[in-house]
Symmetry: C2
């Protein structure tokens, strides 16, 4: 039992409120854009967009789950939905039958191509346009620092070029 914890002072309180608001509202705003313009969940978009950026447009389910930051059961169900819509298909890995490959179809590719511009425009509109160049740079550094505190063991891979 700590005697008396260090509460947030006024400046910290204000900063925290701003960040909390951002955490609450920004994901919803991005989700809404994707839902409205493309009929896609943000997670669904991460899945097909992740597949689109990899050579062969193919990834193992477990690998894809890590890229999209979701659990394996969740991915499994989402891929089933995407399969029904004709954007993804499954195939057992010829090299190792335990793995399942998720493969982006041509229709799925077209969907990504049709959806991505609107999404990056939304990101630009919500995140980059309101900020100065210096703030953009600061935001990157701030994000990385907080990420290290949240997931210390997680090595952020140097961002690979979009292989679209």
């Amino acid at each position: 039992m700590e005697s008396e914890p260090r509460w947030l002072d006024d400046a910290e309180q204000e900063t925290w409120m701003a960040l909390a608001g951002l955490l609450m509202r920004l994901p919803g705003a991005l989700d809404a854009q994707l839902q409205r313009d493309a009929g896609l969940t943000h997670f669904e978009y991460l899945v097909i967009s992740g597949l689109s950026m990899v050579p062969g447009r193919t990834m193992r389910m477990s690998e894809l789950a890590a890229v999209a930051e979701g659990s394996l059961p969740r991915l499994s169900q989402v891929v089933s939905r995407l399969e029904k819509r004709g954007w993804v298909r499954r195939s057992p890995d010829p090299d190792d039958g335990r793995y399942t490959l998720a493969i982006l179809t041509d229709e799925g590719w077209d969907k990504v191509v049709a959806t991505a511009p609107g999404h990056v425009a939304a990101v630009r509109h919500f995140v980059f346009d309101p900020l100065t160049k210096g703030q953009q740079r600061q935001l990157g550094e701030i994000g990385r620092r907080i990420m290290r505190a949240v997931a210390p063991d997680d090595q952020c891979p140097p961002p690979r070029k979009a292989t679209s």
Copy 2:
């Protein structure tokens, strides 16, 4: 149809990845702390903590929903759960029977008092400790700017003192 959208350059890409990671992981980390140490959802914590900061420890349901940034049906069910646990009780507003008042019980007050220090410690650990003072100030400004882009009509009320 835009001919060719403005994609994110490398620096922007990196910034966006950092922010996206933050949006993905930070809420989960805070939720996990509350769940582990107090058996509370973040939303449940927002509800009882919101009540604890207001004179009389009483709020109308609709007002409370706005404070906790949740829908009215969601709040209704969460308050039902909190009622079962003995931390909140409901009462019709004597002034206007259409409103329902949510009232924090003494046990609920004790729960907030027992929970709050750990939560602010988690916020400090994840958000403030990794940052310099300057970055903390920048983060506040950045959050407010993005918030204005996401919810332009939303007037951020000047942060009222914690009336705990």
